[in-house]
């Protein structure tokens, strides 16, 4: 049912400066203080220059249609520029010219219409001051009673309350209806593998060589000078046919060499490093940004996203910022050819927390 039966009264006061608008009907839920501010009515109507001066009016008219013509010009120019400055090769310069000239045309087209319309409205259309009274939101008593009556009648005619078996079976059907969607959406998750498993393990395994990113060349312990930072991937990552980026996103490691005397190692982790060489996951434990801003003298690792800082000399414990857990350490050793190898996978899931993280 429409609420038109209770519309407020529009008050026009273009030519009378004293008439305060009268309110019709109830004020709805508005709070009206008794000692409140009194509505002073309209300011005296002030005619615009275009109302009084015919030549000014002409000029405003000219401005408005010039703006609309400019808009047409802009639209045509945008089409022409699209053809005159084609993006044919991979030349970045061509893209730039095309974007700029098409954009200028489209801007002119839209702004011409916009500014023209506003200028028209402001300077040429009639300008009486008026008030649209806000309508109360609630309906009249009769409207409300009518609505209740409609529902009651519908209930009686359909027997919704009376035929409870039918009603309850309908409610049951509606409740079961969304279940296929839940199952189908679950099917979008990785198949055959539990997400928890996927998040808990990386490509690192016992004996996997540490290799340079991006070339995949294995790294010898003797290659690393003190103060170095090597960006490391597991050897064989580049040969993966599927999921190379997914594996890299989990297995990325930063390898650093400190003076062995500067490392404060826990007794159970002393065998995880080699002569001052340590390897830590590059994935921040906060929300998974790559942490690689390494300062070689302070041994701080800074995450660029939220400024978490990790102290490499103390097992990458968090010394500042929102991260809650230290970066996972990759236990490393040296094989008989002198290459750095992983002793095992990471001993905990890398990256940010997730629900079932143990």
């Amino acid at each position: 049912m429409a609420q038109d039966d209770h519309s407020g009264t529009e008050v026009a006061a273009a030519d009378s400066s004293h008439a305060a608008p009268e309110f019709a009907g109830s004020t709805g839920t508005a709070v009206i203080p008794h000692d409140g501010f009194e509505n002073p009515g309209f300011e005296p109507h002030r005619p615009r220059v275009t109302d009084e001066d015919a030549s000014r009016q002409k000029r405003a008219q000219r401005t408005v249609y010039t703006l609309f013509y400019l808009s047409i010009l802009g639209s045509v120019w945008a089409i022409a520029a699209y053809m005159l400055f084609p993006i044919e090769s991979n030349d970045v310069g061509a893209v730039r010219l095309n974007n700029m000239f098409v954009g200028l045309g489209a801007t002119l087209a839209l702004l011409g219409i916009g500014f023209g319309a506003v200028h028209w409205g402001k300077s040429l259309m009639t300008s009486p001051e008026s008030i649209d009274i806000r309508h109360p939101i609630g309906g009249t008593e009769a409207t409300k009673a009518g609505a209740v009556e409609v529902f009651r009648e519908a209930d009686e005619e359909s027997g919704f309350s009376r035929r409870s078996v039918i009603r309850n079976s309908l409610i049951g059907a509606l409740l079961v209806f969304p279940l296929p969607a839940v199952v189908l959406f679950r099917g979008l998750a990785p198949q055959d593998q539990m997400p928890v498993e996927l998040l808990s393990h990386t490509m690192w395994a016992k004996g996997t060589r540490l290799a340079l990113d991006p070339s995949g060349v294995p790294i010898k312990a003797s290659d690393i000078t003190v103060g170095s930072a090597f960006h490391v991937i597991p050897e064989g990552l580049n040969d993966l046919e599927h999921g190379r980026l997914e594996e890299k996103a989990k297995a990325a490691v930063l390898l650093m060499r400190l003076e062995p005397s500067e490392l404060n190692q826990a007794p159970d982790r002393e065998s995880w490093s080699y002569d001052g060489i340590v390897a830590y996951s590059k994935i921040c434990t906060h929300v998974g940004c790559p942490v690689a801003l390494y300062e070689q003298h302070t041994h701080h690792l800074l995450c660029p996203c939220h400024q978490s800082q990790f102290d490499v000399a103390n097992h990458c414990e968090v010394i500042f910022g929102p991260a809650k857990r230290p970066l996972p350490q990759l236990p490393i050793a040296v094989d008989d050819e002198g290459y750095l190898i992983a002793q095992s996978d990471f001993t905990e899931p890398v990256g940010p927390s997730f629900w079932e993280r143990s």
């Binding site: 220059v49 402001k122 300077s123 930072a229 960006h231 801003l293 800074l302």
Partner: protein, 264 residues
């Protein structure tokens, strides 16, 4: 009276201007000639005894206070034995050393020594112990593969120096400086020696050819500015956000005021 004096005087009133102009041109020209002269005669023999003697004198006069009389290091400065000529050429050649004051990071400033003196200092320090040498010209003149350099830069450098080399903040007042207008030699030397808190990237991590590619990439970025219009310093979302907050919202506020203001 003035007028007659001037007319009878020896000099025309324009003479002063002409003389000043001449003097300026002369000094400017001489300065230009001299400064290119020093760059041209920077050929310093790394092995000659004279170079090392000169370097030693410069070292003892300018560096020994902090680094010790024979570069063995003191409480105020590290030992320089074994840092190599590359390290000295970088630190002194970019004006970071001699350091103005102790702080989180040595600040770049106009170099305090001529190119020749920098080289003498560098070879003196190199004579104390083996270390990375100043790189050869063909590695630093930017004749490499910019695409390969870009990939290496993104993996190894961009997290601190910004993907366009615009620099960025580190912890506790330290920062990675912008790499625009840094010469190829100094970029190479920084990678090899790891000045201050920058990690070392030795030749087995990034090979000399790869370093040349990285330098080529940086020069490419400098020569081919942003294709997307204003770069706003290439420092990413902060600058861009600030720009749109001030100018974009400013324009919207201005237009709103115009739309709602009553016409004259």
């Amino acid at each position: 009276m003035n007028r007659s004096k001037r007319r009878t005087g020896r000099r025309s009133p324009l003479a002063t201007v002409a003389l000043l102009a001449l003097g300026l041109v002369f000094t400017g020209g001489a300065y230009a000639a001299l400064s290119t002269g020093t760059a041209a005669q920077a050929e310093v023999d790394p092995n000659s005894q004279e170079t090392i003697e000169q370097g030693k004198k410069l070292f003892q006069a300018n560096c020994a206070t902090c680094h010790g009389l024979s570069a063995q290091g003191t409480d105020n400065g590290p030992s320089l034995i074994g840092v190599g000529a590359a390290s000295v050429d970088f630190q002194v050649g970019t004006g970071r050393m001699p350091m103005q004051m102790q702080g989180p990071q040595a600040q770049q400033k106009p170099p305090q020594f001529t190119d020749e003196q920098v080289k003498q200092l560098a070879y003196y320090v190199a004579s104390l112990g083996p270390g990375p040498d100043i790189p050869a010209d063909h590695l630093v003149n930017g004749g490499g593969d910019a695409a390969n350099g870009a990939e290496l830069f993104r993996i190894n450098c961009a997290m601190c120096h910004n993907v366009a080399g615009a620099g960025g903040a580190l912890t506790e007042g330290k920062f990675a400086p912008p790499l625009n207008d840094v010469s190829g030699v100094h970029i190479y030397e920084a990678m090899v020696t790891g000045p201050q808190n920058m990690p070392v990237f030795n030749d087995l991590n990034i090979s000399p050819e790869d370093k040349r590619d990285v330098i080529t990439y940086l020069q490419y970025v400098q020569d081919n500015r942003s294709p997307g219009g204003f770069e706003l310093g290439s420092i990413g979302p902060v600058a861009e956000g600030l720009f749109i907050w001030i100018f974009g919202l400013g324009a919207i506020v201005a237009i709103t005021v115009w739309i709602t203001a009553k016409s004259n």
